[in-house]
Structures are given as C-alpha cells and as structure tokens.
Amino acid sequence: MNALPQVSAADIKGAAISIRHVGRSFASKTVLTDLKLEIEPGEFVAVVGQSGCGKSTLLRIIAGLDDAYTGKIVIESEGRDTASARIMYQEPRLLPWASVIDNVAMGLGPDITRQVALIRARKALDAVGLGDRGSEWPHVLSGGQKQRVALARALVSRPDVLVLDEPLGALDALTRIEMQQLLERVWLEEGFTALLVTHDVVEALTLADRVVLIEQGEIALDFKVPFPRPRKRSSVPFVTLEERLLAALLHTNHQPVDYVI
C-alpha cells in the first residue's frame, strides 16, 4: 500500500454540501423532517442510524436520484459552477455484459470518446489495484474486487462529492478493512467530499472526520472524530468513543468503562 500523501488545504477540491430543512415523505409515512446539515468541502462524514431511519433516502436525495423532497440542497464547489455527486451502493451494480474496464468507463457518461474513456478508466482501475483485470468479465471477480471496480467507476470522473451507501456492508471482515484503507487513501488523494452511510460504528470512526446520527427524521447527534490518521482501532479513546456512539444508537445509557492497560 502506498504511503499516504500529505494534503494541504489548497489541494482540497471537494464541494460544500448545504442541506437546508430537507423533508421527504413516502405516501403517508414521513421519513425525513426538517433535516439540517452543513458539510465542508473535502470533509468525510459518516451517517449512522437505525435501519429504516432514512439514511439511504437522504443519500439518494443528495446524489440527485430523488427530487420529490421539500427544502433545499446546495452543492457548491469552489471555482466550478456545477458540482458533481456520485453514488456507490451496497451492491457493485456492474453491467455483467461489459468488461471491467468498460464498466469503469461508464462512470464518464455517454458523451466521451471511447479512446479517452479507456485511458482514464485504466488509470482509475490502477488506483484501486485492478489495472490488470480490465479485459475480464465482472462475474469472475470476487465481491471485494467488484466493489473496487464500482469505486473506480464512481471516481473516474473525479467527482466533487462521493456518497456511499453501505458500500462495504456485504464484504467479509478482512476485505472490509482493506477496502476501508483503500477508501481512505483515495479520499486523501482526490480530496472529494465523502458521505458514508454505515452500520458499522468502528468503520464510521475509522474513516470519518465527523459522525452524524439520524433519528426520527432529524440529526440527533453530530460530532467530530478527533483522532489523527491512520487511526488505531484499539486505542482507549477510540474504543471509548465507539462505546458512546453505540450507546447513542441503541439508546442504552452509556456506562463509563474502566480500562486497565
């Protein structure tokens, strides 16, 4: 794995996301009510919350896949009129009839010449460590490799915002950790704003600058993760924070734990 490059503020090119009083209802069921959230350019935000609380709904709205919401969302990138958001799902959603590299090239949209698309797709594949698998069919890849291809496809157009809806949820523990490291590395390299939905509290605390908890359609908790990167999952402050977040998620009263080292 490459060494993590140093990122200065000038490198950050991600977009700021401003979610202002956003609401969304399905039929009679209100999922999001008056949700407010300001995300800074290049920030990595983890979204947690109980199943069915509306995390996916929020991501789909931010990614522009759902416009039946109330309120306003502004995505602004400095020096650019239009900011682009890309989404990555829990399933890789690769076209089974397109080669791996053609799948990645899809991320550049339909209006690009194939030649240019292939060159850029190759670079994106290299970045996720699958540069030599471009000519294969997706079905020969493992679950983790498919997710890497999906990541390459999401990033090939160098988006300002990447929203990730439990992208690692279906992977085994080991592959998951590898993918987390990969995600952190590309995020540091590319500087996009990342919004990650996850059920995994440790994952949220490992990757995110900031964690928000959605409950009853609103942000119930919003805090920064103060640890330097790369983070050690077994350090005492990390585990303490993990316990507190878990307690907030499960509504159990947090009992301070005494650690003996």
Binding site: R86, Y89, L95, W97, A98, M106, G107, G109, P110, H139
Partner: protein
C-alpha cells in the same frame, strides 16, 4: 455438524466423477459424436428390420430407399427447389413477423402507455391457435405466397413479442438507476443497459419462434401450396411414395436442428458474458 456435511457431500461428488466424464474424457471426438450415437443406432435397426422384411415398404421404406429417393430428387433438381422455396418462405415470414413482434415488444416494454393500448388486444389474438386461421387465410389470400407468409409471421410473432416484452420489463432496475445516475438516457441507456439485459430472453423467444416457424410452414404448405417441402410430402402421399414422405420428414428434422444450432451459436457469441453460455459452461 461439519462431519455430517462432509459425509453428505463426498459420495455425491465421488459418484459424479466416476459415472460420467471418465468415458467422455478419453478424447474430444468421442464427445462430439456422442449426440449422434442414438440416431445412428435407430437408423441401423431400421435398415435391418426393412432388409429382413419385418417392416413392409408401404408402411416405412428402408433407409436405403429413402436415400435413393433423395438421390433421384436431387439429380432432378426438385429437392433443392422445394427446400429453397420453403427456406425463403420461412426466412421471409420470420423477418416480417419477427420484426413487427420485436418492435411491439420493445414499445410495450419501454412505454406503459403503449402497453396499456396494445397488450390486451395482443393477448386476445394470442389465444387463437394460428393454424385455426388456415381456412380464413385461404379465403383471403388463396394459396399463393401471401397465405404462407401470413401464417408464418403470425406464428413467430408471439414467442418473440412476449419474450422481448418480458426481457425488457425484467431488466435489473438497479442497473438502470446506476446508468441513469451516470448520465445515460434514451437511446444510450437502451443500447448499453436495456437491450443487453433483455437479450437472453429475446433469444429464448427466437428459439421458440424458429420451432413454430417450421411447424406452421409445413402445415400451411401441406394444405395450401404448389411448391415447398410440405407440398412435396403431400403430393408424394397421393402417389404412395412413402420414401419421399419419409425423406421430407427427415429434412424437417434436419432443418429444425439447423435452426436451433444457429440460435445456440448466436447465444454463445452474443451472451459470452453470461456464465451459463460460456464455452464449456452449462449446455
């Protein structure tokens, strides 16, 4: 627990290995000839039965007399003529019926409005057996080419229509959403996602259509035609030429097989991405 599971699995894989492929693995040619083993055995028994007189020629002529009938008809050029006529009717009917069916399948698959407008009507027509229309078709078109083309087109229509429609409707909506989010719309979306997704189903429809195509054509030619394989068989019956009748039946079988193989080849080529269609995959 684990032991039990192992015990359950082991004998099954073991017997699979010893039962089948060992005899096949001796060489590729063996495997290629295997499908022909049964037809050749039947042919041999048939010839034997005819030679010893157990099978009278008026019921079933011997393979050799069928062969001589074929030789006679080929030398006179009749057989090629009939085959060519039937083949061009089949192809034209398939092209006409198939392209209308494909277009309507696409249109109804892609547009709810089109579906609501047309699908009920089409489903009603589908329930009429197309051969039941023969008397009406003869009244309308006489016994010239149009009647055969009409029946073949109608016959191939439904398998292709239904499978195209179904194929388009069952394209993975997650893939469609993904492609849309990357800016694919309209024709681009169709070309890259919807059509390839529907193709396996469309080809299944084509395969059914080819079967119905021959069936319809032969029946139509037997009743209302003055050329073609169906006509050849029917007129041979009038002259008690059982050898020609059997020859015609054998040719149907070969043409049917050829049509099926063609679609399989198309499947293997166009669905090479599909695990089930890869070479050496499921057959």
């Amino acid at each position: 627990m684990t032991d039990l599971a192992f015990d359950a699995i082991k004998p099954a894989t073991g017997s699979n290995r010893t039962l089948w492929p060992t005899s096949l693995r001796f060489g590729l040619p063996n495997q290629k000839l295997l499908p022909w083993l049964l037809p050749i055995t039947i042919l041999t028994l048939w010839q034997l039965a005819s030679s010893v007189g157990a099978l009278p020629a008026s019921i079933l002529p011997s393979p050799t007399s069928v062969f001589f009938a074929a030789q006679r008809l080929i030398l006179s050029g009749e057989l090629q003529g009939h085959i060519a006529t039937s083949f061009s009717r089949a192809a034209t009917g398939l092209l006409i019926g198939g392209s209308i069916a494909f277009t309507l399948g696409l249109s109804n698959g892609l547009s709810r409005l089109s579906e609501r407008l047309l699908d009920t009507t089409l489903q009603m027509i589908r329930n009429i057996p197309n051969l039941a229309l023969i008397p009406l078709v003869i009244l309308w078109f006489g016994i010239d080419e149009t009647s055969k083309l009409f029946l073949v087109s109608l016959g191939v229509f439904f398998p292709i229509y239904i499978n195209t429609f179904h194929g388009i409707r069952t394209v993975d909506s997650q893939l469609v959403e993904m492609a849309r989010s990357y800016g694919f719309h309209g024709f681009q979306l169709f070309l890259r996602v919807i059509f390839p997704g529907a193709l396996p189903s469309i080809l299944v429809g084509l395969r059914y259509a080819l079967g119905i195509m021959w069936l319809t054509l032969i029946v139509a030619e037997s009743i209302a035609a003055q050329s073609g394989l169906g006509y050849m068989a029917m007129s041979a019956r009038e002259f008690m030429q059982t050898d020609v009748v059997v020859l015609a039946i054998l040719i149907y079988a070969l043409l049917g097989k050829a049509a099926d193989s063609t679609v399989r080849a198309i499947e293997r080529w166009s669905l090479s991405w599909h695990p089930a269609y890869r070479k050496g995959g499921l057959q």
